[in-house]
Assembly symmetry: D2
């Protein structure tokens, strides 16, 4: 009834083989794997799908016992099991890559321990911060990511095996024992749920999306800091792209791609949620579409982390330029206000007085600390000679001495704690 073309078309369409095709293996990687095992290992025209393929290979390896593979099992619980086993390992790899990025951030922070750069709000200079403090902000994001991945892993690592097609099995399968043998943390408690649950895919994609969101922010910061105009960092030749014509140009291609790839992972998260929306219980073929989204998410998030780590290891901070930028723009206005508050001026009045000082400075093209004592005292008689020390970059930084602040002492402690947390887990 079907033409040959239609038959081929439908075979390709339904085949679960297809889903593994899309796995994001490059041609080279696939060739390599096939080579390791002997390419013909994977050739099996007779196999209806990956499950038949595994069964026939098992029979080859262990004989007739292999034919018992499907006893108390079904494609529905087997495919869920395979995906969970695979994802469990991928999560471990992603966590390791997160740790790698965290390590690179700490190394970078430590090798530029005294560097200062402007902190921004609304992309306007606001207050100076230690470069190490900036590194630690991203360290914190990745720490949350690792924590989340650990939680997702616990819900991934639950065995559906023995749920069979949807109702459970009538064979005397010891589900708990099988789960232990496969190093699962436990077994799914309801067979209908076991074969139709894809929460763990969505959770992984949502967690990966947050990793990518963090990476996209880091990328944005580095791309901006590497512009001619900002000039706070320089990308090593190894991680930037130049041209024969303009050899001085260093395009931050790698970080732009990292930023761009966040979109792709967000798209996968959206797709996975949309996929399961409104699906009746229990198994529906739609669910086969979970694979490529999850595979590509795992590959992308891991590679994006590793590439970022490499970039971080090849960034040079232009400390003098960054410090200069952190010293202009009235970034010590808050310090001046605090100075006046400490001398007894109410908060609101202090703010207004400083506002007037800044306007005065602007008119003369001078920073607050470049104004004469006389001039400053015109705005508030509470100002005295020690104001210059209070307004210094060093004091501006060191005064932020509460937990989480950017004072050198706090940042040193935070670096040590961060380093210790990497060693622990």
């Amino acid at each position: 009834m079907l033409s040959d073309g239609e038959r081929e078309q439908l075979k390709g369409w339904n085949s679960t083989g297809r889903e593994y095709d899309g796995r994001g293996l490059t041609h080279e990687q696939f060739e390599q794997r096939a080579a390791e095992r002997g390419a013909e290992f994977f050739d099996d025209e007779a196999a209806e799908d990956v499950h038949s393929f595994i069964e026939s290979r098992l029979v080859e390896l262990v004989g007739d016992a292999g034919r018992r593979l499907h006893t108390g099992r079904s494609r529905n619980d087997q495919v869920a099991t395979a995906l969970r086993l695979w994802l469990r390992d991928e999560i471990d790899r992603v966590s390791e890559s997160l740790r790698g990025a965290q390590g690179a951030l700490l190394d970078l922070a430590e090798s530029h321990a005294d560097a200062v750069l402007p902190g921004y709000t609304h992309m306007q200079r606001a207050q100076p911060v230690l470069f190490a403090h900036w590194c630690l902000a991203y360290f914190e994001m990745f720490a949350r990511d690792r924590e989340r991945m650990g939680e997702v892993r616990r819900r991934v690592n639950v065995s559906p095996l023995g749920a069979a097609a949807l109702a459970g099995t009538s064979h005397a399968v010891d589900r708990e024992r099988v789960a232990r043998a496969l190093e699962f943390d436990g077994v799914a408690r309801n067979s209908l749920d076991a074969v139709s649950d894809r929460d763990f895919c969505v959770e992984f994609a949502a967690g990966a999306s947050l990793v990518m969101a963090h990476l996209s922010r880091l990328a944005e910061d580095l791309i901006i800091y590497a512009t001619t105009e900002f000039g706070f960092v320089e990308l090593g030749d190894a991680v930037a792209t130049g041209s024969s014509l303009m050899p001085q140009k260093k395009n931050p291609d790698a970080m732009e791609l990292v930023r761009g790839k966040s979109a792709r992972v967000f798209g996968h998260a959206t797709a996975l949620l949309t996929l399961i929306k409104g699906l009746p219980l229990a198994y529906n073929k739609d669910m086969q579409e979970d694979k490529e989204a999850v595979f590509d998410t795992a590959d992308t998030v891991r590679e994006s982390l590793d590439v970022t780590t490499t970039v971080l290891r090849n960034v040079r901070v232009r400390e003098a330029r960054a410090r200069d930028a952190a010293s202009v723009g009235y970034m010590n206005a808050t310090e001046m206000a605090d100075y006046l508050v400490r001398r007894g001026l109410p908060f609101r009045e202090a703010h207004e007085a400083v506002g007037r000082m800044v306007l005065h400075g602007l008119g003369k093209g001078l920073e607050l600390h470049e104004l004469e004592l006389e001039e400053l005292r015109r705005f508030s008689p509470l100002v005295s000679e020690d104001v210059y020390e209070a307004l210094s970059l060093e004091r501006t930084l060191s005064s932020k001495s509460q937990t989480g602040g950017t004072s050198p002492a706090r940042v040193r402690e935070a670096l040590a704690a961060a380093r210790a947390s990497l060693v622990e887990g």
Copy 2:
């Protein structure tokens, strides 16, 4: 330089007041709240934004001390703090609503303890399952949802206060003490991260999206089961919509809306991720856009759960019809195969023999258990008189006796365990 219209436009645009307008309060709800406190309480033309408003009210209530509100604080850490406090409470309410839906599922399961319906794969009848087993599948989904919400809550419940604008504060604020007073679990460890982190919004929206995905599947099942064609359940008049013309028609409007509203929450999750993509550190005004998405997500997921709970409490299972449906369609074919396997026939051969029996039955318009023993033996001499007991609906169910299976004994245990888990926490 601006016209009056443009000035109004921009004021409305930037004002953080706007964000609270969209909070999804109906007009009535807002009126009611205002009435409770005196409507004029909220009228404050002078307030620049919600922070100024709070400060001025505080001064009203406690006098000049109120003016110290901003000491060691900034809009940036305050708004993050307020949102976290609010979301912490909302998560508790959502968790309570999840528990409510779980309770309704258990009650429904227990009140139809013997009910059976067909289990489906690909929307085709596959094997009979207990109705209580179906209820428990959704119970499991909501159990995962509660677990996830608990994890999100821990990351929500971290205090940013004292991070100030972005660099920390130079005032001697004891951040840990303030955090304890506000019942936070801890303090954010990096000030740049503290004011720019919106992970907790995304996490909440992702968790809420999974709740909605589960509700959309439950809705789909109920809508399908309530069709004339399936007819497994009947919605009480209280939760269905009829018409004067066709009073017999019971439109499942409430559950259709629940299914539809999943889209809205997925959209919010997508929007929140997109919002933070590529934002440089630290605070950017874009982040104000987090509010409406989070507010509407919280309202929608909670209301969707509560409406579903009400519907579940007004569903009647048409047990006879469901049982009939579970008895036809060769749904005991697997049992027959298992019977033959137990008698020693290899797995594959058993499957093929049963396949031939089914085809034979189809030809005569009879189910397997309606065929004569003679006829069955034609396909396998291993069949004997006891086959009819093995093929009964009762045996088909009771044989699924491994953990998570649909046998009455297992389901009874699962119900008890589920009930206990609700009491615990």
Copy 3:
């Protein structure tokens, strides 16, 4: 400075070659193409990226003139040009597949010209409709899709060539002539826009998403109609999946996958929008990420259409069963109300009288047309003998005789018009 591993990693990361790897060519397809041209044609280790590759092949073919390829051109306008050329062809292929699906719908409608099935609102039976009318609803959706694709094509088919890197070229390139030679409809009017515009990718993905949304609805209808409970259609063996154990089971795998794949395309549309959000002018490397999303969208939408066409050509309508379903459930209640209105009863009163008749019928287990004339007249004396003709399925259908209605005459006209529109364009 980089390890070998890091160097490889970055090379793979930045290389535009990568983007073509993911093109969704199966291994077989790629092998075939390579075979057609000689596999070694594509081996070029020296080529930095696809642009260098093309240049070196061109030099092979036409000699030194090939080296002028980049005169007045740049990677930035070339890659945009290549993508537009490719997408223009893909849109034509998608449009052809849309037309194919439309043809299959018309053939199906014509081969079941008299078939009737219940029309649903809220998945509850509402009024009977012709099966051909149902087919034409989907025909209309695909007609809109084709119209949209045509509009997108016009905006795709604009030449960026000569915009060079971003500012235009100083070489005397005749952009209009080049555009004509490549069969573009015109040239991009601003060089900055020309190299940074990816609207056409988003537009294509949005249009493809609507196609997939339509297919997902068609899939849902077919999956539901193919259930044991509805039983309105039967999928041919060729397009359904059975099992050796349950040979009567016909899983609608192909349509479930079509439904599932809508999620994937929606995800790509989301990703493409997210990708370009907030990118500064002009070209950024992020934009390289447009490729895989667009490639996979094109493949998926075309294959989904073609598979659906094949399924539609292998669907059998179970006319008797569908007609029976369309005859019960008080689906002629509206007709009865119209009958009374025609006899002079005000609209609201007619509705209420019919409502009472239906309740009476429900009590006796009888349809309206199965009630005695006496009984009906008890609810309204306006009823007379001719009511039975008015309530017949035939009259219920034929009365819907306005444009777009389901009367046989109107549907016949609509089929003819539809057929004509396929021939035209």
Copy 4:
């Protein structure tokens, strides 16, 4: 059977009134409208939903004839009609706002006709461009947006009236005449499609998403150009936010919000697609959820355009600073290469020679045009005295003289054509 609380909950849930609540009217706006008509006009406890409300008001106004409102109509086609009428008007308003933004871009371009700034690729300086050329890039994007909105409008402006519940009407309604009276362009051709089609909502949201994507790019450019580091533009006080403490700080809040709000509109587009995925024909209550997404999309896109227009009218270009930036960074390297090519050097060799010159210049801290003729000739004897003119900023610009290039002559023509296109339509 329901508690009072549950009854209220469900009433609020199903009511179509709710959907209009969320319309994004601020409290003030609603009060105003109510005041215009008399507040009590909208009070109608008896009305089941908006359709009953309209009917009862119509009866008030025109008497008994109002009761014929539902003849040949149903809620299903009425709600689709109302939404299409509303959206048609909104599209016209959005198009007008697009035109307003285009006008502001042209005014800005003309008032800075000689301004030059660096053009960027990868956020690295690449080649100088006219500021007016940058304005025209966004003009082009909005031109495409207007074109798209026009196409969407044609598909919106189709009348579903007379499709009734789903099957058409048996009353002699002249659908074409009604459509003309409501100024529709035509009537929907299939009744099932007419009541279940929400393509037009998705299309509008997709078109609006592209507008927002363009605005987000414009916002990003302006935010970056307004940094201390770039300093190419200055936002007027009227459109920037300062503080009492740091009066010199000009936060670009309005444009940050525009950038942020793109996320919200993308989210709505995603939600609308997800909403209709897999819905069976014909009307389902889920579709009520289309309203808030479409309402908020329309409000957001229009306000975002208008706010951007206001900002554009209050931007000052710091021409000297921008021109300086456009003069350093070896941005005339391409010109130098073209110079050598014109003198006969092959393309590749020219590139390499220039690359060596740039490296030489870098070593001495000099731009190409700051090097001595002797030095330049060391890299290529083809260089002669006239090279300095060729390397001038003016020549670099004027040489880009093909269609769409940034030469002053071309840009002047493009401005004139753009202005003309605004007048036309």
